[in-house]
Each structure stands twice: as C-alpha cells, then as structure tokens.
Symmetry: C2
Subunit: 338 residues, 2 copies
C-alpha cells in the first residue's frame, strides 16, 4: 500500500488537485471545499510529501549550523535554544560539527542541500577562500562571534564591555594585579577581551602590566603559567578565567598554594553554568548571553529570509556580570602603596 498523494485526495474529495493544494496551504477557500478536502485527507491518512514541496518551492525549511565543537556545553545550550526558536517558524537544524571537516567543504554541502539559512561560527577570520565561499553562498547567513567583513550579517558577544566591567569591578575592590587569561589574540574574542581590559585600566589612569595578559595556547598546559603568576611578592591578586575547565584547575592550584578564595585571591570566570554557581564559594562569572544571542541570530536570519532587511548589520549582545562570592577586597599585604 503506497502512500497516498495529493491526487488521491483530490479524487477522493471529488475536487481538483489545485484546490487540495490551496486547502493544505491555508489559502482562502470556501468552507465547503475545505471540509470536503479535510475529510478525504483524514480518510486517506494523507500527509504531504515535503520533498516534492521543497523541490517545487525551492526551500527546504532547514538551517545549516556549523559548530566548532559540540562537546562544548555552550554550543549545546545555544542549540537547545535555537532549535526551539526555529521550530516556531517550521525550520529545523541541519548540523555539521567542525571536527574532521573543512569549513569550505561544509559550506559546499550545505549549499548542495539547499539550506534556507546558515549560521556559521568560522574557525578563522581571514581565510580568503572561506570568505569568498561565504560570499557565493546565496542563502541568508549569520556569522557568529568573529570579526568578519561588514558585508555579512553578524552577531557578536560583547566581550569588550563585559571584560571592562569585570576588570573595573576588581579595580574597585582595590585590586591592581589582575591577570587575564584569554584565547589567543589572532581571533576576535581574544582581542576584544584584551581591549576591554586595557580600557578599564586606562579609564582610571592606570598602566597595564603586559605580563598579566596571558594568551592560552590550545593543548598547552596552562598550569606552570598560572603557578608562576600566583607566587612571589607581586603575585596576581585577582584572576579572570576563560572557562570552567581552567577554573577547576585553578581552584585546585589555589588550594595547593594555600590561597583561599576570596580572601587571598579573587576569581571571575567567563561562562556561567550549574556547578560554578553551586560551588563554594559560588563563583562570580561573566555570563554568556545565550538567549539574547540566539534571539538575535534568529531575528537576523528571518530578516534576510523575508527580505525585510536591506543591508547587513552586526549586532553585539551584552554579557552580564553575575556577582557571587568569589571576589573580595585585595588582601592588605598585597595592597600597593598609593
């Protein structure tokens, strides 16, 4: 027993194929017709063939999402929320994890599959091949969190302002030796964080000790670095950490060194999650604006899809400094003379 098609329904209802189509798509139609079609439709257990529909309308209802690493819970959270938002518009996520693929190839595959939209987290900023591939990509596209030529729609996390706030908060507590551990600065997030840090210092007329700005190479052990910074007469009294993995390591090292938090050492971590907030002391964090980020991505995407937007925009979504118990005033012994 083959699946029934729109023709079967038309025959069963005694109307034309076109009319059935109209009913199915909710176009204006007489109540009488609508009823006849609905009846036939349930009688035959008909469901429309999306494939045929796609081919006719040239739209798949799929949005491609290219993710650096799904094992990063941050992207998991984004996807949860994205999926929910897209659902409301009848869209679904077609996923490609960067692991074992080249961005370019993924783009090609997405194009072949005729996705209706694309959300892209590039792994590099200035690969000209990638940029031109993205330019050829005709479907609506949103770039996330990387500095990309302004002819693309983009959403970025407001690291600069966020870190500036965090640093300013610590400065207000009397800290001067504030270490910033951050992603490598050849990518935008790293640069932005550094800029925010410098702005906060500059705003108070303080000078920055470059020694305290530490890029984290992937796959390299950050512990020796960390250990060095936390010892000696001009040790760091406050730490801004880029994620919970390194936070765990740091907490452990602090304990080894006999530094208690927040009395001897203040800590702020970027990226909020369950265990960070239930830890004791609860960790002050710079929260990633997952919901806002997703809302913005979807909004930009939809704007492009329905053609209501004329030209590309870049939106920066703000982070939120969540104050908890891991920061305190600078210890007296480390206070600098003023």
């Amino acid at each position: 027993m083959a699946r029934s098609t729109i023709k079967d329904v038309a025959r069963e209802a005694g109307v034309s194929v076109g009319s059935v189509s109209r009913v199915l798509n909710g176009l204006p139609v007489s109540p009488r017709l609508r009823q006849k079609v609905e009846e036939a439709r349930t009688r035959l257990r008909y469901e429309p063939n999306n494939l045929a529909r796609s081919m006719r309308t040239n739209s798949t209802g799929a949005v491609g999402f290219f993710v650096p690493d799904m094992a990063n819970p941050l992207y998991g959270a984004i996807i949860n929320s994205l999926d929910q938002r897209l659902q409301a518009r009848g869209l679904m996520l077609l996923l490609a994890s960067a692991r074992g693929r080249k961005a370019k190839d993924v783009l090609a595959e997405f194009r072949r599959r005729r996705v209706d939209g694309l959300i892209f987290v590039p792994d590099s900023e200035d690969d000209p091949e990638l940029i031109s591939a993205l330019e050829d990509f005709s479907a609506p596209t949103v770039i996330q969190s990387v500095e990309f030529p302004s002819r693309f729609y983009g959403v970025r996390v407001g690291y600069r302002v966020g870190i500036r706030q965090a640093v300013d908060y610590l400065l207000g507590l009397g800290h001067r030796r504030i270490a910033l551990l951050k992603p490598l600065s050849h990518l935008w997030p790293g640069r932005e964080r550094e800029a925010g840090y410098r702005e906060a210092f500059a705003h108070r007329g303080l000078t920055v000790d470059d020694e305290l700005l530490r890029p984290l190479a992937v796959g390299l052990n950050p512990m020796p670095d960390l250990e060095a910074m936390l010892q000696g007469p001009d040790r760091a009294t406050a730490l801004i950490l880029p994620g919970s993995r390194i936070l765990a390591l740091t907490l452990q090292m602090a304990r080894q060194l006999g530094l208690s938090i927040p009395e001897d050492l203040s800590i702020i971590s970027v990226g909020d999650n369950d265990w960070v907030s239930t830890y004791s002391p609860a960790i002050t964090t710079l929260r990633w604006p997952v919901e806002t980020l997703v809302d913005t991505m979807v909004e930009l995407l939809v704007k492009q899809m329905d053609g209501s937007s004329q030209r590309p925009v870049q939106v920066t979504v703000p982070t939120e400094l969540v104050l908890r118990d891991s920061c305190g005033p600078v210890p007296p012994s480390n206070r600098e003379g003023d």
Copy 2:
C-alpha cells in the same frame, strides 16, 4: 543568472539529459561521453539540485536525531562523533532537541521531512502512543539507552556490568557501606545500575542495605540526602555518583564535613571528562563508551538502510572503569567486624 540545470549541461555538451545523469551518478559510460560532460559541467559551474534528486529517489541523506538535552556534554560528544561517521556515508544530522517538544511531534516532523534514518533517545519507556508512532515510522531506526520492545534496533550502555565492576572494586577495597546515587528507576538506566549493584553484593554473599540506593529526582536538591548518608557511625564510606554536576557538589560537601578523599571517603563517578581527570585527587570514573556507542549506532542504522539485516538486534556496549586516585581502602574506624 539562474542556476544551471542538468538540461543546460546536456545542451552544452551536446548529449542527452539521461547521459549527463549517468555520468553524474558514476554509472558505466564511455570515456568520450564522460569527458564531454565533465567539461560542460565545469564550464557552466553546474551543481546538481539535491532537492530534485531527493524527490525522485525518495531519499534525503538526512538522519534525524532526537536528543533529550543538547547542553549535556555527553550528547555533544556523541554528536561530534556521529557527525563524523555519517559524513563518510554522505549523511547529515537533522537535529531536534527535546526541549519544548513532544517526542511524538518530533517523530511526525521527521517523517514529514522523510529522513533516511532515525536515532532516538526516548524520554519514556512505555508510552504506548510513542511506541506505536515509532512502529509506524518506516525509516530505519535505532533506539538509544532505553529498554524498548525487542522489535526495534537498540543500543544500550552496559550499566549493569559496569556498576557491578565498580561495586566489586570497592568491595575488594573492604568497603561495605557503598552508596549508589542513580537516576529514577522507572527508566532503564536506573534499574540496570541497581541490578548491577545487587549482583556484586550477591556474588560475595553480602546483603544490601536499601537505604544506600538513592534515586535522584530531577530538580530536587540531593544535598540533604547526601549529608545524611555521610554522617553517623554507619555512614557510607564509598559513593557512586551519576555525573559530574553532583560530583562537584559532593566534593564540596566532603570538604565541609572534613572528609578527605580517598582516605575517609572513596568516590566513583559515572561519565568521564576533562576536569574529573585533572582534579586532585583525580577521580575514578565509569567511562561512557562514546566511540563504541556511536560506531554501533551507525552500524545498526546502515545495516537497516542497505537491507543487509533481517531482524532487530539490541547491542549493549561496555563501559570502562577508569582507575584513578579517588578510591582507597575503607578507613579502619569504619571497618565492619567479620
């Protein structure tokens, strides 16, 4: 400038449409023809329209994946690996997160989209509506980690044997008061863990104190329970925990109670990850077999797709007990008389 179609290529190459199709699909064809077509194809920058192809062949090259919660890094890891495996077969993941959706609706949507295969992690075992929906689902399907009627292909994690090993290891160290925190037992994983626990005890002729088997209700604070178990003359001397979130809480509570690990308290956690292994002491874990799991899922899926398998199988993939530093012999003061 509209995209070129197979017709354009045919005209450009001076051959028939059918021939172009044959070349494109790698069917046997004379070298002469192949060359002409390839030339025309690159000249026109033609790429086949997957939608039309899909509609004709009735296959989308998409595999639906229904996930309870993308923010769980475990599923992230699964997706990373799954994506890579499927890629090799020209398949892509179409994702639906359970958040805000009913399993039934997702199934319907996947069917409408005509996915070629389905990987499903059900949120309940015996919803008859869900089961019958799954039965109607004609595409190849693999159920993950839940006990489902044996007419479905399924992959399960070998919790029973794993927990049995873990418990046996602790028993061997002299522990008798071993607490098992586990998912609710109305779902398969919970039941299996409990069974493994009981088997280990039975095997040594020991009796189980049911007080030490603690189901974890979602959204309920497990801390009071935990605190109660860790105090008093017959406190638990070993703990088996179901994940890293609760592990974090437990470590913190142990510190509050002045219990050091592994001297006063032995701990095993289910699910391995970075920070668990770098924590001090490094935590002994029961590792989820992500890679094997994914391999098996793909294998079962492909078996069904190419019709090389006659009837459903359920495969159980083994966990691995990773010994680290969080377990030690039972403290003398808590040793039971024998």
